[in-house]
Amino acid sequence: MTNWFDKFKNIADVKVHLAKLKLFDKLHIHIGKKETTIINNRTIIVNSSKNKTDLEKIIPEAIEEGYPLLQENSAKLLEEAKKTSALPQNVDLLNFYQDKIPLLDQIILRASMHIEQLYKKKDKNHAEQVKLGLIQNYGQRGRNICRLYCASYFAGFIKTVYEKMSALHGFKKAHFEGFYELVVTESPYAIFIEKVMDQNKVKEIIQQRINSNKKYRISFNIHGIGKENCLKIRESVSELEDDGIIKISPDIIEKHKVITVTLRFE
């Protein structure tokens, strides 16, 4: 079973002659551009160019035996995202939604948990990059789920709606599923303002949502993060009030450069 692994070790041994490799299950193999070496008796680095012929045989064998081959940053992201999913508060929420939302959405939810974690760790560039990958692959639905999760809708509003619905006589899971689909596709209850939107765009988006929600008097929240977004939202809301488009004074909560404005209808 470990023939392919012995071949990796042989590559390293021939070049480096270091003794006392740790036990098999503590070793890690990395293929790269650096010189073949062993680090801390734990990692075998194999130079891809100088060992091309050996690698052409060994890598397929390793994969055939069930060992994945992954680029280093993806392996790291996989491990970290797994750890985030396993945090107790996240496990509780994931368990709640386990039989209530589509399987792919559950995975997007786990992805969103990790993106939020990266933001919390102030690793903004990495968070943005991971989020971009999510949106590129899963489109508006992925974007909405991520935004709704980060604005606590999954822990709050959506969960509360399920609990209230399920307590009603004659409740069917399909009732909640219909509501949930609307929330993650149309996001009628929330809009999220982004840095790339200028003042006019922000005002336009808010006005469009007012127009689509007012018939059924569906209240909605406007969310923004960062000083600029908070200002754009405040100014847009103020202008719409002056224009008579917003008739009821909105509730505004702004703290630590995060704003939520709730608009209601008469």
Binding site: G66, S85, Q136
Partner: protein
């Protein structure tokens, strides 16, 4: 599949090409991974999507080879398959 023994490689485009070459794949002018001996034939993921060199994160064993994308959802789906 074994999570404790993931073999990693540098996220370097030329190294990705070398790895693809080992498995008889290459990249067309649109950056899409294709069969080396039939460049009109793209490599398909289990969900039917094609994959670009830029998105290529790795390979695991499946019924045939499974190519893995680098986005977080694909990686979490992989994590669920690994023991």
């Amino acid at each position: 599949m074994k999570i404790d023994k993931i073999i990693t490689f540098d996220p370097d485009p030329s190294l990705k090409m070398e790895i693809l070459d080992i498995f008889g794949k290459t990249v067309n002018k649109e950056g899409c991974i294709v069969e080396k001996d039939n460049p009109d034939q793209p490599v398909f993921l289990p969900n039917g999507d094609t994959i670009t060199l830029n998105d290529f994160a790795g390979i695991i064993k499946g019924n045939s080879l499974h190519f893995i994308k680098s986005d977080i959802v694909s990686l979490l789906q992989l994590a669920d398959k690994l023991i």
